[in-house]
């Protein structure tokens, strides 16, 4: 089973209940550090493993957390963090299982 992508909260180093200001500050700090090449910002520890982090990842996480719907979905996924979620199966696979797909 493939490993799940880190949540946007983990990517920014904030808790799932972090406010908008904390999210923005965390992103500003990380983007500034990544711009100057600070090694301490280029990776972080998640569940005992080191995960790489780029400016693109930080901006992607910021996009998700700025959008109310996407933030909601991220919070719901964060509730199930003890289980690794695989990426969604292709629609053909769902159809292969006999499930109706749009």
């Amino acid at each position: 089973m493939s490993a799940a992508a880190p949540s946007p909260f983990a990517m920014l180093g904030v808790q799932p209940d972090a406010g908008a200001r904390d999210v923005e500050r965390a992103a500003q700090r990380l983007l500034a550090q990544l711009e100057v090449g600070a090694r301490s910002a280029a990776s972080f520890e998640l569940n005992g493993q080191w995960v790489d982090r780029t400016a693109e990842d930080v901006r992607g996480a910021l996009t998700v957390l700025r959008d109310p719907e996407q933030r909601l979905a991220a919070e719901l996924r964060a509730m199930a963090t003890e289980v690794e979620l695989p990426p969604p199966a292709s629609r053909d696979l769902w159809a292969a299982l006999g499930w109706r797909v749009g």
Partner: protein, 824 residues
């Protein structure tokens, strides 16, 4: 004035303006004539001499063959404009470059330096080809770096900067320029300005108000027995001259009750020349422009409704653009939106001011700093040049490592009592030469910090070290979150579904890379085979409903080896802060293709547009019938909008036949918008099916999660189902789809833990083997699957299932609709 300066330009349809921000004040750039506006007009004479601005505008009526304006509306289109005397043709991009060059010269004359970097404001709904054309114009004008900013956002920044107190309620920017209308909904939270949403009309502006006056004159002539057909190219010159006089009359009617429009021998008819000598009253102007004003109000109301803001809940309205000075417009907009107007703001230069302030927040200095002293240790500093956060971070790096052990910054006290000084603690430099310091800003002003660096640990004998730069400035004020992308950008897949790369609202810059599967084999060296990866822009799930903005092409003639069906190609899209898009496809063996064709809005011939309109009408009739049966008021309203747009398109196509390039572009936009409205009607008709589908998804996901999910997954699923039902009730389609995806992910997780999950799916896919697009590859995959099954290797079996699913056929009709896409 400090030496750090930031330039912003409003490149308008009718007039352009520029402003320079020095960290404390915004200064308007003056033209050589002393004004603050540069008419967006260019004249080429017989000797090839170029005149721009007010001097050119004087020739608009007397020498229209060699004097052109309002080319902004044609930016990004395949169109050139002829100048008879000079025997030359210029694209809208080249003409815009001449206007920008003129402004650049004005900056140099007034402030003593030729700016190299600039922020240029563009309409919020500008599409990628139009944005690309604007960036190119800036490059041609001599700017080395340009960022684009949406006009309503620029206005909002300027309005926020000038506001005496923060506005707690959401506010609206009503930006009616010469050619475009933008409405933006903003809110200020914790000093940060956020664009909640925007809407607009790329073809509604002051020029259309002039058109209403022209229509009044033509109607008057018809009563007198003179029938001037606007679609006849013979009358093009007369109509152009009439339009300029109409603009003057419009401005006059802001002060007077009546204006005269006089043009001798305006038109040549069969019986001879026809003079125009018509009066228009203010009431007649109001009657003519009211439908247009109502159209802009409808856009505003749509925007408010889309974000759950009721009429009367707005804190204020910021008016931008010349036409907003018309008293009747202000009265009608104010009554409809029930909100006060912000005062003390110049609607003609607000956008330029905001663009300059944004340049500061983006750190885009207008000129290049002088090189640092060679004896100092060089630093690379990263900080927000303007921010609403009072405690931002400074990140730095030593470019000459080993010379500094610790760094500190200090903000000296200000004698006039604007707050005490402040000093950070010593921060040790990391082994990689970087450091991070939390700062403290002065409220609502600029804070200049001095950087001090030392060798040896502070506390021992300290050796100060000279660094460069040793000083930097941050302005505290209302700032904007990174400019959001106004339209979703993605790749059109062969199954006519959009693979989203950049969702609407994503902050720029942004880069994404995904692996896509090739749906047909390309033979290396083949002369004509090409794999197309279409790039689209729009909010629809179906690719053909979105706007094609470019195509990344992989030509078989350039391949070093065959590209087989089922191969994975890594496609990366990148968009910079200015909205410039680049694309790259990387093949499995490392070969790279990055040529994006057709980043220009394609023209449609009038006949082709009529055919397209007719096809849309057929779909509309079908979908509307279903909507009426279901008594779906929302869908019926969308259907009525589609009808109106198709009617407008038909009238515009008629004008386009007469050579009116603007009408041709406008007709194309109307048809695309009508297509979108019909898609809305079709989607609404499918709403009952969506309810059934949600119930099906709920039933199946509950089953899997109940049997194989954890307690936390069950709770997450309950939450998702509850919210999906609420979204269904409120008809928020995007939210329902997203929550269904969450539900299916939770179910996938549980299902994949069920015994024999992949064995079952492998058995089903194997039974469909005969349908595979590449039988040989499918048979090989089946053999690997059998082997994995015999070894009990579920992970390998899962991989095989994905491979087999990718080899299943794609519908040819879907592929054709998806701009011939060769990937999925």
């Amino acid at each position: 004035m400090s030496t750090t300066r930031f330039l912003g330009i409003d490149l308008g349809t009718t007039n352009s303006a520029a402003a320079l921000f020095d960290g404390d004040q915004v200064h308007l750039v003056r033209t050589s004539a002393g004004g603050t506006l540069t008419p967006s007009v260019v004249r080429l004479d017989a000797r090839g001499g170029v005149t721009v601005g007010a001097r050119a505008r004087r020739f608009l009526e007397s020498d229209p063959q060699n004097t052109r304006g309002e080319f902004k509306r044609l930016m990004g289109a395949e169109h050139t404009i002829a100048f008879a005397a000079a025997k030359a043709s210029k694209s809208p991009t080249e003409l815009s470059a001449l206007v920008l060059k003129s402004i650049r010269k004005d900056v140099e004359d007034q402030f003593g330096f030729a700016p190299l970097r600039v922020v240029i404001a563009v309409p919020a709904l500008f599409e990628l080809p139009q944005s690309a054309a604007t960036s190119e114009a800036a490059r041609l004008a001599g700017f080395e770096k340009v960022e684009l900013l949406q006009e309503p956002v620029a206005s909002a920044i300027a309005a926020g900067w000038n506001a005496e107190e923060a506005e707690a309620r959401p506010w609206l920017v009503y930006d009616l320029g010469g050619g475009t209308f933008d409405a933006s909904l903003l809110e200020t939270q914790d000093g940060m300005l956020r664009v909640v949403g925007h809407d607009g009309d790329n073809f509604l502006g002051g020029r259309d108000f002039d058109g209403a006056i022209v229509a009044h004159v033509l109607a008057h002539l018809r009563v007198q027995g003179f029938d001037v057909d606007p679609a006849d190219p013979v009358h093009a010159t007369g109509l152009r001259r009439l339009r300029h006089l109409a603009e003057d009359a419009k401005i006059e009617l802001s002060r007077a009750d009546r204006a005269a429009i006089t043009l001798p021998e305006a038109f040549q008819l069969a019986d001879g020349p026809v003079d125009v000598d018509v009066d228009i009253t203010r009431d007649e102007l109001i009657a003519g422009i009211t439908p247009l004003v109502d159209r802009s109000i409808a856009v505003c109301l749509r925007l408010l409704a889309a974000h759950g803001v009721k009429v009367g809940e707005l804190g204020k309205i910021v008016l931008v653009g010349g036409p907003t000075v018309i008293p009747s417009l202000r009265e009608r907009v104010g009554q409809a939106l029930v909100a006060p107007f912000a005062h003390g703001l110049d609607p003609m230069t607000l956008v330029a001011q905001g663009a300059a302030l944004f340049a500061a927040s983006a750190g885009l200095t207008a000129d290049v700093a002088a090189p640092a002293s060679t004896s100092a240790v060089r630093l690379w500093l990263q900080y927000p040049t303007m921010t609403s956060d009072l405690t931002p971070f400074l990140a730095g790096r030593l470019l000459d490592p080993g010379e500094v052990d610790a760094v500190r910054v200090e903000r000296p006290a200000v004698p006039e009592g604007a707050g005490n000084g402040w000093q950070s603690s010593w921060e040790m430099v990391e082994p990689d030469g970087t450091f991070l310091i939390g700062l403290d800003l002065r409220v609502r002003g600029s804070s200049t910090f001095h950087v001090t660096a030392v060798k040896n640990v502070p506390g021992d004998k300290v050796d100060p070290v000279a660094v460069a730069p040793c000083e930097f400035t941050i302005v505290h004020g209302v700032t904007l979150q990174d400019p959001p992308l106004s339209r979703t950008v993605g790749i059109a897949r062969a199954d006519d579904v959009v693979h989203v790369y950049f969702p609407r609202g994503a902050p720029l810059p942004i880069r994404r890379s995904f692996s896509l599967t090739v749906v047909e084999t390309l033979l290396a060296g083949h002369e004509t085979q090409t794999l197309r990866v279409p790039i689209v822009q729009g909010e629809f799930h179906k690719a053909h409903l979105c706007r094609l903005v470019g195509t990344l092409e992989i030509g078989a003639s350039q391949l070093t080896q065959n590209l087989n069906v089922g191969c994975e190609v890594e496609v990366a899209l990148e968009m910079d802060r200015g909205g410039r898009l680049t694309a790259q496809a990387k093949l499995p063996w490392g070969q790279v293709f990055d040529e994006v064709a057709q980043l220009v809005a394609p023209q449609l011939a009038p006949d082709a547009m009529l055919d397209l309109s007719n096809a849309i009408r057929v779909r509309l009739a079908r979908a509307l019938g279903q909507a009426v049966r279901l008594l779906d008021a929302r869908a019926i309203a969308a259907g009525n909008d589609a009808e109106r747009l198709l009617g407008e398109a038909a009238a515009l196509v008629r004008l386009a036949r007469g050579g009116d390039a603007d009408a041709s572009e406008k007709a194309r936009r109307c048809i695309i918008e009508a297509d979108g409205e019909v898609a809305t009607v079709e989607a609404s008709a499918a709403w009952p099916e969506m309810a059934v589908e949600l119930q099906t998804v709920e039933d199946r996901t509950r089953g899997w999660v109940a049997r194989y999910g954890s307690a936390t997954e069950r709770q997450a699923l309950d939450d998702a189902i509850r919210r999906a039902r609420a979204a269904l009730e409120a008809r928020r389609e995007a939210e329902v789809c997203r929550l269904q995806e969450v539900m299916e992910q939770l179910a996938t997780s549980a299902w994949s833990r069920s015994p024999g999950a992949w064995t079952r799916s492998f058995a089903h896919l194997r039974s469909c083997l005969a349908e595979a697009r590449d039988l040989r590859a499918a048979e090989a995959a089946v053999r690997r699957g059998e082997d994995a099954k015999s070894r009990g290797d579920e992970a390998a079996l899962e991989k095989v299932c994905h491979e087999l699913a990718d080899l299943m056929p794609v519908s040819a009709a879907d592929r054709r609709q998806a701009f011939g896409s060769g990937v999925r």
